[in-house]
């Protein structure tokens, strides 16, 4: 269980994290989603005590991180897989962590096997590791103390498709056994496939949160037609809210805040032929995310 309450972090006049509140529950994978620079990493660093908060509380397993007597046994943390001494071997990095936690070195071998690092690979120095291998090593470090809570910042970065699949299964299994998993990503689709709950952050503020089902269900209907203006007029007359679909910038598709059946009836009465009519699963989330991203990324200008 992770609880974040009214968390704020200011750097001078800049507010990196702005009154963030959310809870990551046991037995669930919570996706922490936001564009680059939205405040995900800062929030996670505050949770584990690496960055002091300006105000607000972050609790893991009911306690402040600094109050955990042996945090490695309760919280698995992976913030940056590259933050390791380049001159240490993978096995040595795990051994140091295991010793700090007071675990036997047998656990090191178990973890190396769990993340599929061969003895030859674990004997190599980390400077020669690919990003994917570093991520596996980081996951091994996080899992070492059999913690109940995992806090992972962009763990899929650098993994190949098979690795991403492996990570997904591993985290799923972890949550299914009652663990709390919080993982961040800037990729909606990556997080959509694994998360049960979503917390969406943009420019330091939470813009949406809830179960994945809730957030996807609220998306309404996607309707596609070659005669957008007529359909738009009919929708206005029927008192239905709609927006231009971000995917095509409204050229031939609209997203309507109503169920598909009602939209179909409106279209029929207006005599508009439809090319497509379906529940916009996740399209609302995607559009919200695109908007968020557009505000903070250069690509936004061209979109």
């Amino acid at each position: 269980m992770i609880k974040v309450d009214s968390l704020t972090k200011k750097y001078g006049g800049f507010t990196a994290v702005d009154d963030v509140c959310f809870t990551a529950r046991p037995g669930r994978v919570t996706g922490f989603l936001g564009p680059n620079g939205a405040g995900k990493s800062t929030t996670m660093r505050i949770m584990v005590g690496l960055t002091p908060a300006t105000s607000g509380i972050a609790e893991v397993s009911g306690r402040r991180f600094a109050d955990l007597p042996n945090p490695g046994l309760e919280v698995g943390v992976l913030l940056d897989a590259s933050a390791q001494h380049a001159g240490r071997t993978g096995r040595e990095i795990l051994t140091i962590a295991a010793r700090t936690m007071g675990l036997s070195t047998r656990r090191v071998d178990e973890m190396l096997e769990r993340v599929s690092l061969t003895p030859e690979e674990s004997g190599r120095r980390v400077r020669n590791y690919s990003l994917g291998m570093r991520q596996r090593l980081g996951i091994a470090t996080a899992l070492l103390g059999e913690p109940e809570v995992l806090i992972l910042d962009e763990p899929a970065n650098g993994l190949d498709p098979a690795g991403i699949r492996w990570m997904r299964d591993l985290l799923r299994g972890y949550a299914d056994q009652g663990g709390t998993v919080l993982l961040s990503s800037h990729l909606l689709h990556e997080i959509e496939v694994i998360a049960d709950d979503l917390v969406v952050i943009g420019q330091g503020r939470i813009v949406a949160q809830g179960t994945k089902a809730e957030l996807l269900a609220s998306a309404g209907t996607l309707v596609r037609t070659s005669d957008v203006p007529t359909l738009a007029r009919a929708l206005v007359d029927a008192d239905l809210d709609f927006v231009e679909s971000a995917a095509t910038a409204g050229a031939d598709a609209l997203r309507v805040e109503a169920d598909p059946e009602l939209v179909g009836q409106v279209a029929q009465r207006a005599g508009v032929a439809l090319a497509e009519l379906r529940a916009a699963d996740g399209a609302g989330l995607e559009e919200m995310f695109l908007e968020l991203t557009a505000e903070t990324q250069r690509e936004g200008a061209a979109a």
Partner: protein, 270 residues
């Protein structure tokens, strides 16, 4: 939110029940820190170079010192110089590598009280310093025996145990300056440069100033830590000289280390 339904289901435990975790003992943190100073190639060779340089300095003394100067003091002096350079650098790097190699991200999440990690490093640093000096002294003693056997002269042991203890103390104080600079700067390059400025650039400047300015001549033993340590190498330390060491140590170690620790505890580890 309607996510409450899942909470009523009692999730199976991630693992079997186990006793509540206990606080990580200081001895374990020190053990890990000691291991961390040896387990990289650079760390290993830095440590090994203590022995290697002691052997080189001893060999050079046997080869180049005049026969009548082949005494234990000559060996001790020859070995002392590389130690004075090496040990403070080892001390500084033990701290700065957490930042320059970014290992602090792991170290300070596994032990969230940074003060404990720094104190453990301090303990390990002092231990490494004392052991290194004893090893160096033993290598020097061996050189003294072997050297005089080669030349056929008498083996002279003109360094007392008390004198040796003072020299070790001086080396540890030098290490602590390096350590303090490491905590204060948190950057390997800055700390090493800082130590060279302290150990090699400031002393001659201070001597020059003392020669020409009367007020500095009187103040120097109290504020020039390097100068104050001179008495430790002379084998006898008077009460006033201990006071000099205490006051200068306060200025050069206690105050900056306190400021450094305060800033380490408050800083952001990235």
């Amino acid at each position: 939110m309607t996510a409450t339904t899942v909470e009523t289901l009692e999730p199976e435990a991630v693992r079997a029940a186990r006793p509540a975790p206990t606080r990580i003992p200081m001895s374990r943190i020190m053990g890990v820190e000691l291991r961390k100073s040896f387990d990289t190639r650079s760390g290993f060779w830095l440590m090994a170079s203590i022995g290697i340089l002691a052997v080189i300095a001893t060999s050079a003394t046997i080869l180049f010192a005049p026969d009548d100067e082949l005494t234990y003091e000559s060996f001790a002096t020859a070995i002392g110089f590389p130690m004075a350079v090496l040990l403070p650098i080892i001390a500084a790097l033990s701290v700065t590598s957490e930042w320059s190699q970014r290992t602090g991200l792991t170290s300070f999440t596994l032990v969230p009280h940074r003060g404990r990690v720094i104190v453990a490093k301090l303990g390990v640093t002092i231990g490494v310093g004392v052991v290194s000096m004893l090893v160096a002294a033993a290598i020097g003693a061996l050189g003294n025996v072997v050297g005089t056997a080669i030349t056929g002269t008498d083996t002279v042991w003109n360094v007392s145990v008390a004198e040796l203890a003072y020299i070790i103390l001086a080396s540890v104080l030098g290490m602590l300056v390096g350590f303090t600079l490491g905590v204060l700067m948190r950057s390997s390059a800055a700390a090493v440069v800082g130590y060279f400025v302290y150990g090699f650039a400031l002393p001659p400047l201070s001597m020059m100033l003392a020669a020409s300015q009367d007020w500095w001549d009187r103040l120097q033993p109290w504020v020039d830590f390097y100068y104050a340590q001179g008495s430790l190498y002379e084998g006898q330390v008077s009460g006033t000289e201990w006071a000099h060491l205490g006051v200068a140590g306060l200025i050069w170690l206690v105050v900056p280390l306190t400021i450094g620790l305060w800033s380490v505890l408050r800083s952001e580890v990235k």
